[in-house]
Amino acid sequence: MWLATWLSNLDRRWLFLVMGVLVLEPLLFPLSLPLRVTPPVHGFAAAIDSVPAGSTVLMSCDYDPASIPELVPMTRTAFRHLLSRRCKIVITCLWSGGPGLVDSVTSEVAREFPDRRYGVDWVNLGYKSGNEAVMVLMGQGIRNVFPRDFRGNAVATLPIMRSVRDYTSFPLLVNISAGYPGTKEWVQQVQARFHLPMVAGVTAVSAPEFYPYLQSHQLRGMLGGMAGAAEYEVARGEKGTASKGMDAQSLGHLFVALCIVVGNVVSFLQRRRS
């Protein structure tokens, strides 16, 4: 019974220490447990595979540095997947914290394809404030909303933008998003109106909310959190940061599950005693 009292007034900083160690350990000595690819991830990869080679795809990365560990692996793998299918990619970013980060990640991946040139095979249009208003405005003409791209070039002079007018120019929208504005607003303002096929890579915290969109086929595929990113990497046969992080996720989840159970047992024992 002394265990219950010791546990109940345990300083929470011990819990912090255990969580820190548990998450750190697999990063040093990986366990590499096998990962099963779930249907929403197959849908995501299949939607990109079904895009005709050489067509122009819209990729909106609506997140900021706070979601790097979950969404940057998705952005990398999806961008590499699109480039490997010889697609042209138009990138937009509706989060103020994101444009610098998105530009670095995409430029890094683009360097793996030496024959692809900025402005011909992919362009980063950067940030625009206004949330849903920007999405609706892009429906009337993307050039009107983004007169200049992220690097300061006049968008009208870019060859890739010559064949891009509005949403009808895209066979697919790949949306990587962390909250508002994000996947929900893209589905409401764009997918429903322009019947633009859409897939989404989202943070795990917002994934459950978008399962109804999967069931109603408003979304053709979805990557949910780091697990979704890792499965996508496995599906594409890549070894990215997400797959490496999954062992630490396993231990972290086990620890939290343990905390819930033990926490309640302790409080139950205490309630019975008092």
Binding site: M19, P34, I68, P99, S129, L137, Q249, V256, C259, I260
Partner: protein, 220 residues
């Protein structure tokens, strides 16, 4: 005058935007686009005003020597520094910001990105302590929540499948988790989506018809 004109503007623009959803005709869609373009610009002014407000509040805090005014100096200096460097970089790169290799990008990568990422990382620790100390199953409903949370939490990571690989396929944690996500969770989330949509539509209607005047504030 101070209340009627804003209310009229909100009502007229709101109704016009709803009209533009149903009427694709160019006499309606072109002005509607113009209004949205205005909103994009005015919201940007709002963010600049927000920054100016932070500056004003903290400068007052410093002048009144409030508690912790030393830190407020750090805040004001870093704000003005970021703005000054931003203006210089923007002028040098004809308006594109933050450009690779410029001091602004250095600030973005090493200060902004690092700190906002780390702020979030604190949460992982708090999740553990909250799970232990604040996750109390006091009712049957909270019990349901806990069981669903445990199944989904363990089913979503490789260790869940590995641990229950000896069970038949449909009993494994991974499959259970998939079923919970596809059926019960989906039904309740859809009910909440519809409910929230009704709430937003009702509030939107009240704002447009001037019934909801809270954004104008109390007195004249």
């Amino acid at each position: 005058m101070k209340r009627e004109v804003p209310l009229f503007i909100t009502g007229a623009i709101g109704l016009f935007m709803i009209l533009s959803f149903f009427v694709p005709h160019h006499w309606v869609s072109v002005p509607a686009d113009f209004l949205q373009a205005c909103a994009v610009i005015v919201v940007a002014f709002g963010y600049v005003l927000g920054g100016a407000n932070v500056l004003r509040v903290n400068l007052e805090g410093i002048s009144r020597r409030e508690r912790g005014w030393g830190y407020k100096i750090v805040l004001v200096v870093s704000l003005l520094g970021t703005v000054a460097i931003g203006i210089a970089d923007g002028l040098r790169h004809n308006g594109s910001f933050p450009v690779e290799g410029t001091p602004s990008k250095w600030i973005y990568d090493n200060l902004y990105a690092t700190m906002s990422g780390t702020m979030f990382a604190l949460l992982a620790f708090f999740i553990a302590s909250a799970a232990f100390r604040a996750f109390r199953i006091r009712t049957f409903d909270a019990g349901l929540l806990a069981v669903a949370a445990l199944i989904v939490m363990l089913g979503r990571v490789p260790v869940g499948d590995v641990a229950t690989s000896w069970l038949p396929e449909w009993l494994r944690l991974g499959t259970l988790q998939q079923w919970i996500m596809d059926v019960p969770q989906n039904a309740s989330k859809r009910a909440i989506l519809i409910g929230a949509a009704l709430g937003v539509m009702a509030t939107g209607l009240r704002v447009i018809l001037g019934i909801e005047r809270s954004y104008l504030g109390g007195e004249d």
